[in-house]
């Protein structure tokens, strides 16, 4: 019983990382039919945001609040990745609607650039750049509508970008002068140390669970609940669902699909940032950290089907539990006296990498029976 509980917990822990990472991907894919290969790199940005936040909270002014940095970094990571995602949508992806394969290639290019960016640009100036992007993108939308509609609005826009650039440079140099670790570019992996209240273990029903894992499960839970509430209760959520179901009809009914796309992409990318915070708690953070999770996320999206959060949830927990069952060879300890050929096979697959082989093979077999995933979208649309 204890073994089963342990296995279940491990599976849920693996699955919840997958889930929070795949959630954003699934929403974007459902809405726009775009697979974002840069999703892993957006996660990486989130993880680096956690690192930067941690270092900034070590400054004397913020030292008293150090223990809460992880909570702050969740919000910051959401904003950072979201802003980069919105920039991506506005500059590249918008031009490629209707050609998903081209989008795939372009986002791969973006992922390469982002990886090299964190290697060769000091993190302090990277932070400054993100801040100026944030101001430049959002300041123009905050002007009163009287100014927005006036003919001179482009000058306002232009000057707000100049203001944004100045602020970015200022914050960048401020951070780099006060935190020496952030002032040099480095390709080396960095480590995020969990605050003291998150270290150690908790005992539940006689079994010890590491607190960081529990924290990740909590983050995932909150993200899923928040996104479900947003999609089902808010006006923009309704619009997003409408566009997911039928883009042309929603457009005809007066929904601004352009805005819906930006919002969805921003939220999807922001969720990648939150996933990055979770990932940073599990191991060291490097430019390639996203690559370890991204294919798992794709599998979750493929398995879960498009446009259904329940499918995503079930798929990621399913994959997580299966990974643990196969990878740790738990089947053998649950059922010790199984026939020899079977146990040999299970031993053969009882490593992390071989478990992946097994799971992908199982997914391909599953898709033979249900080609559109667990919960296919119902409707009478002709294919394509």
């Amino acid at each position: 019983m204890e073994l089963l509980l342990d296995s279940l917990f491990n599976g849920v822990a693996i699955g919840s990382v997958l889930l929070v990472a795949a959630l954003g991907l699934a929403i974007v894919f459902g809405l726009m039919g775009v697979i974002n290969l840069a999703h892993g790199e957006l996660m990486m940005l989130g993880a680096y945001t956690t690192y930067v936040t941690q270092l900034i909270f070590k400054l004397p002014i913020l030292k008293p609040f150090y223990n809460s940095y992880i909570i702050v970094s969740i919000f910051l990571a959401f904003i950072v990745s979201g802003v980069v995602g919105i920039l991506l949508e506005k500059t590249i992806i918008r031009k490629l609607y209707g050609s998903p394969l081209e989008t795939l290639l372009a986002t791969w290019g973006v992922s390469l650039i982002l990886q090299q960016f964190v290697r060769s640009v000091p993190l302090a100036y990277g932070t400054g750049l993100v801040i100026s992007l944030l101001i430049g993108l959002f300041l123009p939308t905050m002007f009163p509508s009287k100014i927005k509609e006036s003919i001179n609005f482009k000058y306002f826009k232009f000057s707000s970008w100049i203001f944004a650039a100045l602020t970015g440079v200022l914050t960048g140099s401020l951070i780099s002068s006060s935190v020496s670790k952030l002032s040099r570019a480095s390709a080396r992996n960095v480590d995020v140390t969990a605050p003291s209240w998150m270290r150690g273990q908790v005992e539940i029903i006689g079994t010890a669970f590491p607190k960081t894992r529990l924290m990740i499960i909590v983050i995932t839970l909150i993200s899923v609940i928040a996104i479900t509430l947003f999609l089902n209760q808010s006006a923009w959520g309704m619009r997003i669902r409408a566009v997911t179901q039928n883009r042309q009809m929603s457009d005809c009914l007066g929904i601004s699909t352009e805005k819906v796309d930006i919002i969805t992409f921003g939220i999807g990318s922001g969720l990648a940032g939150v996933a990055g915070v979770a990932v940073s708690l599990l191991g060291s953070v490097g430019p390639n950290v996203g690559g370890n999770y991204i294919v798992g996320c794709f599998m979750v999206v493929v398995l879960g089907g498009v446009g259904n959060l329940l499918g995503t949830v079930l798929a990621s927990f399913g994959i997580g539990i299966m990974t643990d069952l196969i990878g740790a060879g738990r089947l053998l300890s649950i059922w010790p006296d199984m026939p020899l050929p079977l146990s040999n096979t299970i031993n053969f697959f009882a490593t992390t990498s071989m478990a992946r082989v097994m799971i992908f093979a199982l997914i391909v077999i599953f898709l033979q029976f249900k080609p559109t995933g667990l919960f296919p979208q119902k409707g009478r649309m002709v294919e394509n």
């Binding site: 697979i35 031009k95 372009a106 390469l112 650039i113 294919v295």
Partner: protein
Amino acid sequence: MSLSKIKFDKKIVLSFWIILIALTIAAPTILPVFRLNLLGRYLSLSIVALGVDLIWGYTGLLSLGQGIFFALGGYCAAMYLQITSSSEFPNNIPEFFALYGVEKLPFFWEPFRSPIFTFFAIWIIPALVAGLIGFLVFRNRIKGVYFSILTQASLLVFFNFFNGQQKLINGTNGLKTDVTQIFGQMVGSESMQRIFFWITAILVIAAWFFAKWVVKGRFGNILIGIRDDEPRIRFTGYNPVIFKTIIFSIAGGLAGISGALYTVQSGIVSPQFMTVPFSIEMVIWVAVGGRGTLLGAILGAVFINYAKSLVSEALPASWMFIQGGLFILVVTALPEGVLGWIQGDGPRNLLQRFGLKRKIETYPSLEVNNKEGNNE
């Protein structure tokens, strides 16, 4: 993609070919062996690019897993080379087995003692694997992005498998070929490398003619039909599954040949050939060269790889930026690739934009030069 193509002046085309052939013949004598070896490798990569062009440019299937077939071909060649030069090692089996305490040759190595079997295995095994994967995927009408993701997942399956199995195929270290022998010669030696360069050059041309033959006629038309409107092809009475499977396994076979040639020239085959970035790079060679042009795939593979080695020698950090920029640029600004742009209306539009060539004004705007060109 429009079918209208400018017919080039015959003389220009002819002189282009003469220069290219002259360069190829002269290369082994002019270039130092290091550069020659690089050129030979890049030429062998152009064969896998031809395969990518067949499935992506003509049939519209974006495979992100061509590395599987590339590496399989490489492993076939390397296994043969290792096993024929293993006579001085204990148990007459390749050296690395001793490291893991393996004393008996795994069963699947046995057939590779025969050169004839290896010769066929290099292209038939990848083609069969491709055919199987393709059939399973196409049968369910999985296509588009789903197909790409599934090929990528299969790539990872193979990568993890080859990476994890030390006792069967030396795992992550891969199989070395440069210190093995073939026909009494060291594979890594200078004279053998020259010979391999020749073989590669000949096979590239052969593969190019083969690909041209494949896309000619009705078969090629069906492929293009599948790319442009698959349901219509199905309603017309063709079964796209068969055609897609055939073309996917042809591309797999080409990838296998390419992988074997690349392996003998680079001196090693390892699971690194099955990493995700490498397989996506193959796509970008074709995209830059011009998809659906075949020649563009070859030129793209050679030039981009050459540029990569030159840039990485000079500024190692900047290649990732350049490569990433290429991906973005080529899909947003140059979707037909360089060769497609030249063959299409690109140069004329450019000249018109600068006022160097008079615009032909028609109303309603007609397509000028609307000749039916054969799609090459």
